[in-house]
């Protein structure tokens, strides 16, 4: 992956949130934009998910961004922006719901990623109305795929 878009993104995020570059650097914001799972665990509140990911069935085949970020470049950028903003805000205010719960939009992203990798296998069971059918949800049954069973 080229570095240019990341830097651009970083500036954008900085502008959006009014965070100084230094702050974001300290928060290892750069690494947040990479695919290295350790980037996420820079924040201790992500520790549970990091550790549970390591123990779950996918740790050898998928890193955080394989599941949590859309793979189409444009959507990818959009999601990173949106989530970067949400993340900075949550982290600054520290007013988020605990335990942390995935948002509906982000769940949809994850779901699309399940299908992306497993499309052949699940071809017959996909929603008949395509992605427009909001009721279908791999995670409903496979809660444990990303992060193992709940504690």
């Amino acid at each position: 992956m080229a570095n240019a878009p990341k830097i651009l993104l970083f500036i954008l995020v900085g502008l959006l949130t009014g965070i100084s570059g230094y702050t974001f650097h300290f928060a290892e914001g750069f690494s947040y934009l990479t695919d290295d799972p350790r980037a996420c665990v820079n924040c201790h509140v992500m520790r549970d998910q990091y550790e549970s990911w390591q123990k779950a069935s996918h740790h050898a085949v998928a890193v955080c961004n394989d599941c949590h970020v859309p793979q189409e470049p444009l959507a990818r950028l959009g999601a990173k922006l949106r989530n970067g903003y949400a993340h900075s805000q949550a982290f600054t205010l520290m007013d988020f719901h605990e335990p942390i719960r995935i948002r509906e939009v982000n769940r949809r992203i994850v779901n699309d990623n399940c299908v992306r990798c497993h499309s052949a296998l699940v071809a017959e069971i996909l929603p008949h109305k395509g992605a427009a059918d909001p009721s279908w949800n791999c995670i409903q049954c496979h809660t444990a795929s990303g992060h193992g069973p709940p504690r």
Binding site: V115, S119, A120, A123, E124, G130, Q140, C141
Partner: protein, 452 residues
């Protein structure tokens, strides 16, 4: 971009070749099987019935539990009542049952033991309702066929439940087709009864309110249009696995959901029906006007924690299974405890024996309490009988008789539900506890005038 994704998704779905062009008129599952061989294979395996093999008829519940003859005295169930088995047998088991052979039955019985859709349409058409009014046509045919004598109606159907009953032929999408269900679920939607497990009904109710307030015409709740896919995965079963009764006097099949799905709500509905209340039959010993409960799986499931958690019938009874490179729904509908690994372990990360032990311990607690309740009910029947012999006063007898109705309904609701309590463990025990209380109160009512 959107287009892109949508296209690829569509592409991903086109895996199987369509060898046959399926239409409404193709009822034979073998034809469907040409397009969907894996599902057809599973479907056919319902002959390998879970517990009761390919024998002539499955074991009698009356022999296993001798009190049942007393409890059902005067009802055809006291003559023949057996275990359920695989879907492949549904039509045959009805034909050979003493309940159809020795008692006059209506065509209504076939609604859930065959594929009557074509016959309904055809009779509606013959009654002069054109294909341009499909709903009216269907309902008309349903009414005509259901109110015929069983033997006459029987000639118009030939298959047990078939693909076309649950699937739209062109897309194979899930659908519901049974008139009594379509009417029943409308009435449920129109009721006030809370249904937290059926989100599309809650949504329809809101819109319904909005329509009413705006003075707009109010469309009925239509599951085929509005239900979520997850709801459909239960509704297809709720076409048949439900409590029902035959309307008087024409014996048309009705699902009693106008006041809700809970046993108490259904009882309430029956108590008010036709002004002075409905009863299926009069108990041969006590003369009490009783209700017969039949397989309320859908109603019971609705009271349970699985329904509340969005777990559908198909999740457990038709779980996905991997066949080579593809994942399909197991069409060999049967007890989930026969394949706990696919039916339960995706959601519950416990060993198979442990999960089986959990289900069994729920069932054992329930069955032990069922026997206890049966004993109480049998003693009430005896007390009522001897009270009548002794010439107890009519008021006393009426009180005891009312208790008999209440107790019988609750016991029967649990006993004729086929999961032995698993679908809603807490609710099942609540009903049994109430049944015991009513039965024993009835007994006491008989005894008390002479002791007070």
């Amino acid at each position: 971009l959107w287009q892109n994704i949508a296209e690829r998704k569509e592409e991903a779905r086109q895996l199987h070749f369509r060898l046959v062009e399926l239409t409404e008129d193709i009822v034979d599952p073998a034809e469907w099987g040409k397009n969907f061989p894996r599902q057809y294979d599973g479907y056919r395996r319902t002959v390998e019935d879970t517990r009761h093999g390919g024998s002539e008829a499955p074991p009698s519940r009356l022999e296993k539990d001798p009190l049942l003859k007393l409890i059902y005295a005067g009802h055809p169930f006291a003559v023949d009542f057996r275990e359920a088995r695989g879907h492949a047998y549904m039509l045959r088991d009805q034909d050979v049952s003493e309940r159809t052979k020795r008692f006059p039955q209506p065509g209504s019985c076939l609604h859930c033991h065959s594929t009557p859709l074509q016959a309904y349409r055809q009779h509606g058409r013959q009654a002069g309702i054109g294909d341009d009014r499909p709903w009216e046509q269907l309902i008309k045919g349903f009414e005509i066929l259901s109110t015929m004598p069983y033997e006459r109606a029987r000639a118009f159907v030939s298959h047990p439940v078939a693909c076309v009953d649950c699937h739209e032929p062109r897309t194979a999408q899930l659908r519901v087709t049974r008139p009594a269900f379509l009417i029943g679920i409308r009435q449920l939607a129109r009721s006030q009864a809370p249904v937290p497990h059926l989100p599309s009904i809650a949504k329809w109710r809101q819109e319904h309110q909005a329509h009413l307030q705006a003075g707009r015409p109010v469309p009925e709740y239509d599951p085929n249009m509005l239900a979520t896919r997850q709801e459909m995965r239960s509704f297809v079963c709720a076409q048949c696995h439900v409590e029902y009764y035959f309307r008087k006097p024409d014996k048309l099949l009705v699902y009693p959901w106008r006041a809700g799905l809970q046993a108490d709500q259904i009882e309430d509905y029956y108590d008010r029906l036709d002004g002075d209340g409905f009863s299926d039959w009069t108990h041969a010993v006590t003369g009490a006007p009783l209700l017969k409960a039949q397989h309320p799986e859908f109603e019971m499931w609705s009271q349970g924690i699985h329904a509340r958690s969005g777990v559908a019938c198909a999740d457990c009874h038709m779980p996905y299974r991997r066949e080579g490179a593809i994942k399909i729904s197991d069409h060999h509908v049967r007890s989930p405890l026969r394949q706990i690994n696919v039916a339960c372990q995706t959601c519950h990360r416990f060993p198979e024996q442990e999960l089986e032990a959990r289900a069994r311990s729920i069932q054992e607690r329930t069955l032990a309490l069922v026997s206890r309740t049966e004993k109480a009910l049998a003693e009430l029947i005896e007390a009522l009988n001897s009270g009548k012999q002794r010439g107890a006063d009519p008021q006393t007898l009426a009180r005891a008789s009312q208790a008999h109705r209440r107790a019988h309904w609750r016991l029967d609701f649990v006993m004729s539900e086929n999961s032995d309590g698993f679908h809603a463990p807490h609710e099942a025990l609540r009903l049994l506890a109430e049944a015991i209380d009513y039965a024993r109160q009835g007994q006491w009512a008989i005894a008390s005038p002479s002791t007070r």
